[in-house]
Symmetry: C2
Subunit: 344 residues, 2 copies
């Protein structure tokens, strides 16, 4: 399994990126990792992670490139103006099948735009979508799209449902995943035109038995659906709102516990610290861009080494599970595929 | 100050609604309250709240109506098929200026549709919006719209910014409130067409000094903006996601603290309980439907007596603050008003 990692992408790159990639390399002997970035910078970061065994070194490569698309760069302009950037090179490596998977914590918009520009989508997929895993009372659920496609059509949302259900089954291990449509109320007639059209497509699709209809914002964390389908604008806002609320509540709770406890104050702070570790959105690894021919994992800009290690691990698992082949098969046998390709 | 309260609306109506209304009546001697609902049902609920003094009884009235729009009713069909429902009667009382304010925890869609049907909007307002107050690290902020208008135009969002800023100044007491536009990234070119158009309007408006541009989901609870402008679809999802995340985290935290603490376990549970009380979205009182000629407060379906008491108190404060007059003045002097009326 060959995985290219964007050594330059992320708020704290390259140190935690390189450290996380090396941790993943050490944990899985079947991995070959290509660190993409400025060679001197990457070498320096590598110097900080401790020496590698000869066997480990054999599985590591640096792919030098001279440019970086920053968080501030406009995605499209960045791709055009920086042809030798790590993000452009990642996509080329994937397109040329020199790697099975790519991982980046860099400019999300540029990563997505890079994929869209190549148009290496899976057969029958009109638009890729980013799938984020969220904790719920009933175990993890997958929310998609969280930002690849801010103005989708209904058929795109249907395809997100198909891909999300496959992801939930094969990665989250839900036997027959339920699918909910993000909306402002549970009644069928709720929401804007896009929501109503999407509801109608699901209702007459092969997924209708798994489709539980509209769900509301508060249903996500209750675990009402294994797959939550949303346009990329709403999904992105939801994902980041969760992060903000979590951070807010954990701070307030820590302060209040410190104020009111005495004997077990430290113990309580450890509990809070552990919860932050467990649920912190910036350590969650990454979110796959589903619908791409290849595996692409997009990480939180604030990713640390642990998040990158998890993201590389996820990339390896998705590639090994042949998730993309299953998606293509499922969409191939779907009566809606013809329509989706036509209007997509 | 005369306030009509929907005695029939809410998941637990009428008992907590009537109890909350009576608490508000007792707390503010300038209030006159009209309980709107089936007389026998309301009388029975009144029997449970303890006897009123003659002076209190003088300030209380029951407005009998025979029907109820339930949570399951379609808003538009409900209004048409149930002309003697409490929600229809509330709007009539407001339209006939028999009350200054109306309060309901009933079917939100029907409440909004009732207001839209009457079209008693403030001059220069194209569409009313629901304004929800949210806690942040920097004190409360106001998010609007949270569900009245799921497919708005850019000019509607601009008007929400105007009304939200007035609300933040006069109710949340922010001297010069900052306004952020809900989006998927902070860069100006981010988001869908609606977001870009709205950004452009704010940038060339009298509010441009207060407009801080796009904000992301995680910025809300950081308190980055005093006013968060959003379409009603996104705002509704955000509000309910916050509720869901909060509920989820508080449960998980309570469980973990119970598991790891011993001596101060009870004290820690009290702290969590107190936080739930403080931040619980269903006890927050209500959210005003801004842009209506009159005061309309929409409460959470799960509202208890405390939430209703707070909502009635809020209605009284908004009426006393002459918020609507300020909104009209502000929109009148805005160079965009002509345009807004034209395209509204």
């Amino acid at each position: 399994m060959r995985i290219a990692v964007d050594a330059m992408g992320g708020d704290h790159a390259p140190a935690p990126i390189v450290a996380g990639a090396i941790e993943a390399l050490r944990a899985d002997q079947s991995l070959r990792i290509i660190l993409v970035g400025r060679e001197d910078v990457v070498q320096q970061a590598l110097g900080q992670v401790g020496s590698l065994s000869p066997k480990e070194s054999e599985r590591l490569e640096i792919f030098h490139c001279s440019q970086v698309i920053t968080m501030e760069d406009s995605p499209v302009a960045g791709l055009r103006q920086k042809p030798d950037s790590s993000i452009v090179r990642l996509w080329q490596l994937l397109a040329e099948r020199k790697v099975e998977a790519i991982v980046s914590a860099g400019n999300t918009g540029a990563m997505v735009a890079g994929g869209l520009r190549l148009r290496r989508f899976l057969p029958h997929v009109s638009r890729p979508g980013i799938a984020a895993t969220m904790p719920t009372m009933q175990g993890p659920c997958v929310l998609l799209d969280v930002g690849a496609n801010v103005s989708p059509r209904a058929i795109h949302l249907y395809q997100y449902g198909v891909m999300g259900a496959i992801y939930a089954k094969h990665v989250l291990k839900k036997e027959k995943p339920t699918i909910g449509l993000m909306n402002v109320g549970t009644e069928e007639a709720k929401g804007h035109d896009l929501a109503k059209e999407t509801h109608a497509i699901f209702d007459s699709s092969p997924l209708r038995d798994q489709f539980i209809g509209n769900i509301e914002g508060r249903d996500i964390h209750r675990g009402v659906a294994d797959v939550v389908v949303s346009d990329g604008f709403v999904g992105n806002v939801v994902l980041k709102v969760c992060e903000g609320v979590f951070d807010f509540i954990m701070r307030v709770t820590a302060t209040e516990l410190a104020r009111h406890l005495q004997l077990e104050r430290d113990r309580a702070q450890q509990v809070i610290h552990q919860l932050v570790e467990t649920y912190d959105y910036s350590s969650q690894g990454g979110a796959p861009l589903l619908g791409i021919d290849g595996i692409c994992i997009i990480c939180h800009g604030a990713s640390g080494a642990k998040a990158i290690r998890n993201a590389v691990g996820m990339a390896a698992r998705l590639a090994a599970a042949r998730l993309n082949e299953i998606i293509v098969q499922e969409l191939e046998t779907s009566p809606l595929t013809a329509a989706s390709v036509e209007v997509g």
